[in-house]
Amino acid sequence: MSILQTPGSDGRFGEFGGRYVPETLVPACQELEVAFEDAWNDPLFRADLDQLLREYAGRPSMITECHNLSEQLGIRLFLKREDLNHTGSHKINNVLGQVLLAKRMGKKRIVAETGAGQHGVASATAAALLGLECKVYMGEVDIARQELNVFRMRLLGAEVEGVTSGSRTLKDAVNEAMRDWVASVETTHYCLGSVMGPHPYPFMVRQFHRVIGDEAFEQMNDATGTSPDFVVACVGGGSNAMGIFSGFIDTPARLIGVEPAGGAAVSRGQPGVVHGMKSFLMQDEYGQVAEAHSISAGLDYPGVGPEHSYLASIGRAEYPTVTDDEVIAGFQLMSRSEGIIPALECAHAMAWISREAKNMQGKTVLMNLSGRGDKDVGQMMSILKDLT
C-alpha cells in the first residue's frame, strides 16, 4: 500500500488536516470535495487539463543534470525544471486545475492569496485564459519586495489588494482571502495556492502537483536507471515538495523538505489549527500564531501543509532548516555554477544540498527547482551590493 494517503471525508492525514472553517464555508468545501472527485475521475476533465499543461504550461518539464555543481559537491545533482513552466514556477499546475474546476462548477470569480506573487501571477494567468474574474490578496510587506509580480498580475487583468493586518505577509493574505470567500462563496472559488487549508485543498492541490513527481520518477529512471537517493525541495506551505515527493514516496529515496529557519513549522512548531487545518504551526504559549521571518516571501509562512506534518510524524520525510545567509550563498552558487538563477524559495533547497553534500558523497540528488529567480533579482540587488 502506498504511503501516499487519500483522505476520507474527514480530510485527515493521520491526525492532521481536517476542515476547521466557519460554518458558512462548510457547504462550499463539501461541494468542492465532491466536484473535485467527480472531475478527477472524469477522463474528459483530465484530458482538458493535460492539454492545458502540455500546450499552455509547457509540460513535461525536463530534468537537468548539473555537471558543474555535481563535480564541486561530490554528488550527482539533477534539477526538476519547474522554473521553465509558463509563469515561471510550479504554481501553474495547481492553478490550471483549480480554475478549470471552478469553471466546471459554474463559478464566475476566483480569489487567491499570494506571498512571493508566483501563485498570484499563475492565478491571474489562468483566470485571463479561462475568462474568470480574479482578485489577489497580498501582504503589503510582500507587495513592497515583489513589485514586479504585482504589476504582472495587474497587467493580466487581476485586481491586487494589499493586506495591512497582522504581519502583512502570506498568512494575513490567506486570512483576507478567506474573509472574501466567506462573503462571496456563492459565486466565487477560493483558488488556494498550496497544499494547505481545509479539506479538500491539501489533497486536491497535491493531486494537481503530483505530475511533477510522476514525470520526475520516469525521467530519473531513464537518466540513471533507478530512483535518486535524495529528493530535496523547499517548504513553505509545501506544494512543490508534495508534488515531487508524491513520485518517490514509495521508493527508498530520502525526502527532504527544507524550511527557512524563521518559518520552521515542522521543526519548531507544535500541532495547532489555523487556516482551516490542523498541522504543525509556529505559535506562542497561548496558541497565538507566530509571525514567520524569511528572506523569501513565498516561504514566509508559520504553518505547513498537513500531509507534511503527517510525513514528518511517521518519519517518512525530514524537514531541516537553512538560514537566510545560507540561502543567499545558495542563490549565487547555482547562478554562477550552472547559469540558472533560482527563485529564493528554491535557493533554500540548494543551500541545504550545498551544506550537506559532505554527507552525501557519491549519491544521486534530485532537487525540485520550483521557480525561476527573475522575480527576486530586484531584492537581491539590494542585498548583494558589491555586485552592483
Partner: protein, 259 residues
Amino acid sequence: MTGRLEATLRTRIDGGGKCLVPYITGGYPGWVDAVRACAANGADAIEIGIPFSDPVMDGPVIQQASQIALEGGATPVSIFQEIRTLDIGIPLAVMCYYNTVFHAGHERFANDLVAAGVSAAIVPDLPLEEAGDWCVAADAAGIETVMLAAPTAPDNRLPLVAERARGFVYSVGLLGVTGERKELALTATILAARVKKITNKPVLIGVGVSNAAQAVEASRVADGVIMGASVVNRMMDGGSEAVGLFVAEVRGALDRASW
C-alpha cells in the same frame, strides 16, 4: 439539562421579550468597564471575545480591537482572571478561535471557563464535523457550546446544527465577516425563520446587526440579537459610557416594540 445561558434567555423570551447579547473584545483597554456597562443597561448575556492573531470571521473593527488587546499583553489567562472578578449577575459566553481551545487542551479550557464563571463558548471556526471532542469536554464541564447556523447551510444540515447547539443557536446574519452594515441583510431573517422552524432552542441573529432599528427588525423573526462591531466601535471611540448608552438604546427599542 438546560444551562444557565439558555435558561436566562428563555426567561426573557417567555416573558414576551427579546434577547440582547452585546460583544466586547476581552483585553481591550477598559473592556471590564464596558462589560459592566452592558450589564447595567439591559444586556441579557454578554459575549466576551478572546483575541486571536488570525480572526478569519472578523471584519476590520474587531480585528483592530483584537490586535490592540494582544499588543497590550492580553492572554486567555489574563482575561479569565479579570472575568472572575466581574460578578455582574448575567451569564457570560466567550467567543474564541479554535486554536486557543486546542492549544490549552479541551478539558483544561473547559475547566478554565468554569473556574472563571463563564457559562458558554462560541468557537466560530469549529464546525459541526470537528466539534465532537470539544463538545464532549464542554458538556462534561457544564459549558454550553453555541453552534452557528449559516445562510449557506442546506435544509438537512440545520437540524444537526440546532441539535448540537447549547445555550442558543447563533443564526449568522449574512454571508460575510463581522462588521456594521447600513441595512440588515435579507438573509438574516430568512435564515432565522428556517432555524426557528426546526428548533425550540432560542435563535439569535448575529453578524451585521448594527443598530437599534436593525435589532428590532431581526427580532421580528428571531428571539433576539448579538451585537458585536457596533458595540466594539463605541468602546473604542467613547469607552464604557458610549457602550452603556448604545446598549440602553437598543434595549429600549426592543422593549418598546410590540411583538
